[in-house]
């Protein structure tokens, strides 16, 4: 089955109406305290979220740590949208384009664990965290807040952020579950860093009770959590299960309450196999489908021949049979991606609205050959594609198809497969000779997809783009606080980028989020914030 984006959104709406919106009736039921939720998660490399970009750490800390702001969660939130709300911040104001003042909730207590022992969280903790986030060496996410000039505690419960320049995405960055979970100075001073499980002391809804390396973790309800009565779920048992067959068997046997893959989903290839047995074994299971924000693309050295010629890049885009990719690797269910992934519904422009650039998302090898000939490459050209598997068969399959498609128009691209670490330290950061193919970090905002990849000199500007039009639009959207105007700038940018094809985006799959029928008031969404999505959920067993 293949769907156009419009059809998909229509179907998505129907799916949501059919499954996700149903719990709105449930919300009228009285929430129930207690119970144990069972999840399959991952063994984190360590627990210091400022010293790793690992989703494994960030997901775990979404249960135990709070941020200043967070994304609203629950069955009423449409997957792919991220409305903001206060977390530790009770309210906030923006006095001018570069000044934000946050009023913190009073009476927020750290987990009753040493060395912090449940003392009250204050503005100094926020200042300390921001300072550590911005200055600690090895924080690969520090760029997200590099616009911050200074952070001051105005009083015990008030924090002022002053930015170096206007940054319209600032609040989105603060609410991102990959960024600034607030940490306690005492933990850093006692343990040197926050890598050890003993250093997992936050103000979040659950506390890390035990950590069993390679095996699992237990989280227990934080009795002093600042939102009265929450969380409802008493205990979360986390299993580290590194084998897919074992995970599938465990889910069929009713062990896990959420789908075993990120973010609480089941891979469609597995889903096709298990959905019928699941109907019998777990009839109460609930599902929702929404596009994945994991988007792969081909990046090219546009600072030299042949990729400096826009016709060559357009030819590459025309050579890619996106529908075949969807059919072959996503079981026929996927979405075409413009420069902002289709998953980010509020910002992504549908392909048919990309204007003149829309035609380059069609499969047209004859036109691709014509463009290559016009660019001076009638017989194509040789090249290499830097690649790593990420341990994903989906990625390997799509890579093979991309190579086949390129070859069909005369681009004899050789696979330059690297070990993951080598790939990340070279090709991922633009250190390659010809082309690279691979997924990008699944961010929740368009700026991280656009600015980081298209602005001159940025670390993740893999295609080495230096286009004044793009740079101007990127800066302007960052300085535009009016949401509608910013959206129009992002749309304009996507229309321009569709013509330029600095990166050739390939389709994304559509997630199948699955959760146990006993889990009420839960709404799936993209992103690492498992804790945020579960804080107001309860178990009706």
């Amino acid at each position: 089955m293949s769907l156009s984006r419009r059809e998909f959104l229509a179907l998505g709406g129907a799916t949501l109406a059919g499954s996700v919106l149903v719990p709105s009736t449930v919300r009228s039921q009285a929430p129930k305290r207690g119970g144990t939720l069972s999840l399959r998660l991952w063994d984190p490399p360590h627990f210091d979220h400022m010293l790793t970009i690992s989703y494994k750490t960030n997901i775990l800390l979404s249960f135990t740590h709070s941020r200043l702001l967070r994304h609203k969660a629950g069955p009423h939130v449409q997957p792919g949208t991220f409305p903001l709300e206060g977390d530790l911040a009770e309210s906030w104001t923006q006095s001018n384009e570069t000044t934000y003042v946050f009023k913190l909730r009073k009476g927020v207590r750290w987990h009753p664990k040493p060395p912090v022992n449940g003392r009250e969280l204050t503005a100094d903790d926020v200042v300390y965290t921001m300072d550590r986030f911005l200055t600690i060496k090895g924080n690969a996410n520090a760029y997200m807040l590099k616009s911050v000039d200074k952070v001051e505690a105005l009083d015990r419960y008030t924090v002022r952020f002053t930015l170096k320049e206007p940054f319209a995405w600032f609040l989105d960055m603060l609410s991102s579950p990959v960024a600034v979970g607030i940490v306690a100075r005492e933990c850093v001073e006692k343990f040197g860093d926050l890598k050890k499980p003993e250093a997992v002391v936050g103000t979040g809804p659950w506390m890390l009770e035990s950590y069993r390396p390679n095996t699992g973790m237990t989280l227990v309800r934080n009795p002093t959590y600042f939102l009265p009565g929450l969380p409802y779920i008493d205990r979360i048992e986390v299993t580290v299960d590194e084998d897919n067959a074992s995970r599938m068997a465990a889910f069929l046997a009713g062990k896990y309450d959420l789908g075993w893959e990120f973010p609480g989903t089941i891979n469609r290839t597995d889903w096709v196999q298990v959905k019928d047995p699941l109907k019998q074994k777990r009839p109460g299971l609930r599902t929702a489908e929404f596009p994945a924000n994991v988007m792969s693309h081909i990046s090219m050295r546009t600072d030299g021949k042949p990729f400096s010629d826009v016709r060559v890049r357009q030819a590459i885009s025309l050579a890619i049979d996106r529908q075949e990719l969807i059919d072959a690797v996503f079981e026929g269910v996927g979405v075409f991606n413009p420069p902002v992934p289709a998953a980010l519904k509020e910002w992504s422009l549908p392909i048919d609205q990309l204007g003149e650039g829309a035609k380059y998302y069609k499969y047209d090898p004859a036109e691709a050959k014509r463009l290559l000939a016009a660019a001076g490459y009638p017989n194509g050209f040789p090249g290499t594609v830097c690649f790593t598997t990420y341990g994903s068969t989906v990625l390997v399959d799509s890579m093979q198809l991309v190579l086949k498609h390129l070859k069909e128009v005369g681009i004899g691209a050789k696979l330059d497969q690297k070990e993951y670490g080598a790939y990340i330290s070279t090709c991922f950061y633009g250190k390659f000779d010809s082309m690279t193919y691979g997924p990008q970090t699944p961010f929740l905002d368009p700026d991280n997809f656009l600015f980081a990849q298209y602005y001159p000199g940025e670390l993740k500007n893999q295609s080495h783009i230096n286009d004044p039009v793009v740079a101007d639009l990127l800066i302007r959207q960052r300085r535009t606080f009016d949401l509608a105007k910013r959206r129009e700038l992002i749309h304009e940018l996507q229309r321009y980028l569709a013509k330029q094809q600095y990166y050739v985006q390939v389709p994304s799959g559509v997630y199948v989020a699955v959760w146990d029928g006993a889990l009420k008031n839960y709404g799936p969404n993209l992103g690492y914030d498992y804790g945020g999505r579960l804080v107001a959920a309860w178990l009706e067993r």
Binding site: P213, M248, A253, V274, S425
Partner: protein
């Protein structure tokens, strides 16, 4: 005499271990590219390259690093895991017993199946039982452990909604449960080794059964059980024991997959994760332990020859 032999073998083992330690130490350093840079970018194991180099002792000449590392190893210090920040010796002490128990149970399973079936197959050569046993052995050799493990885990879940893998139980919590949870993975791990050993037992026993002294035993009117088990089997077992030693090494290698499928936090999974995490000291330490174990197992096999065949003199 035996002690002298053992001492001699240990002396021979020492250079092997020394050579192995050199390989274990040197190989990671021969990987193209700057391992330290990779580790830093990926995992932020340290604040900067210089700190990480100093932490790993990589800021000194290679031979100095090697002898320093060797000196620490001899004193029982295998370094600190970059991942868990705990001494590697501590981590191994926690995980090695599980892998050894799994390996031991798998070997016992292999022997328990292979020897009786091999003997029966040889004694009843070219009968239906023999054909069935040989076919089963070929199947056992052909079926990869990871595939068998996957089937064993998934099919019961699909058919009956039952999962044969329980949550891991520590030895101190429940000793019986600890062993119980290892039985199924050990059986799967032992299948291939069992099949190989069974075929060898059969072949060797058939050869021995055709020897003159066995014919004499038959002529003396001894019972079949005595002829086969007392006079023939012991002689047939010497090459079998040698192969068993090789199989034990393969079983240890197989634990990497089996521990992952069954969620067992053993040493092999530790190594697997360490490779993924670029946990450099752990990779070195685990490889050294595995090499040492294989050397020791081979030593034990050599010693076993004398027990099986008193004619063997050391």
């Amino acid at each position: 005499m035996f002690r002298r032999y053992l001492a001699k073998r240990l002396l021979v083992a020492a250079p092997s271990l020394l050579l192995a330690s050199l390989v274990v130490f040197t190989l990671p350093r021969l990987i193209p590219g700057d391992v330290v840079a990779l580790m830093l970018e990926e995992k932020a194991y340290a604040r900067d390259l210089a700190e990480l180099r100093a932490k790993l002792g990589l800021d000194r000449p290679l031979h100095v690093q090697y002898f320093e590392w060797l000196g620490r190893v001899v004193r029982g210090d295998l370094g600190e895991s970059l991942w868990t920040k705990r001494p590697v010796v501590e981590e191994l002490a926690r995980r090695l017993p599980l892998t050894l128990t799994l390996g031991l149970l798998a070997s016992l399973f292999a022997v328990a199946i292979a020897v009786p079936v091999g003997v029966l197959s040889a004694v009843r050569q070219d009968t239906l039982r023999d054909y069935a046993a040989r076919s089963a052995a070929v199947l056992g050799l052909s079926v990869p452990a990871f595939w068998l493990a996957t089937l064993v885990v998934v099919l019961p879940a699909i058919w009956w909604g039952w999962r044969p893998v329980a949550d891991f139980v520590e030895l101190e919590q429940d000793p019986a449960g600890y062993v119980r949870q290892l039985l199924l993975p050990a059986a799967i791990l032992g299948v291939a080794a069992g099949a190989a050993v069974m075929r060898l037992v059969r072949g060797m026993l058939l050869e021995v059964l055709r020897q003159d002294y066995v014919r004499t035993a038959w002529a003396k009117g001894l019972r079949e059980r005595v002829v086969v088990l007392k006079h023939s089997l012991k002689n047939a077992l010497i090459p079998v024991v040698t192969v068993l030693g090789i199989q034990v090494a393969q079983i240890l290698g197989g634990t990497v997959i089996i521990e992952t499928v069954f969620g067992l936090p053993g040493m092999s999974r530790f190594l697997f994760d360490a490779i993924l995490q670029r946990d450099y000291p752990v990779i070195q330490a685990v490889n050294l332990v595995v090499v040492s174990l294989i050397v020791l197992i081979n030593l034990a096999i050599d010693a076993l020859y004398a027990v099986l065949d008193p004619r063997i003199r050391f």
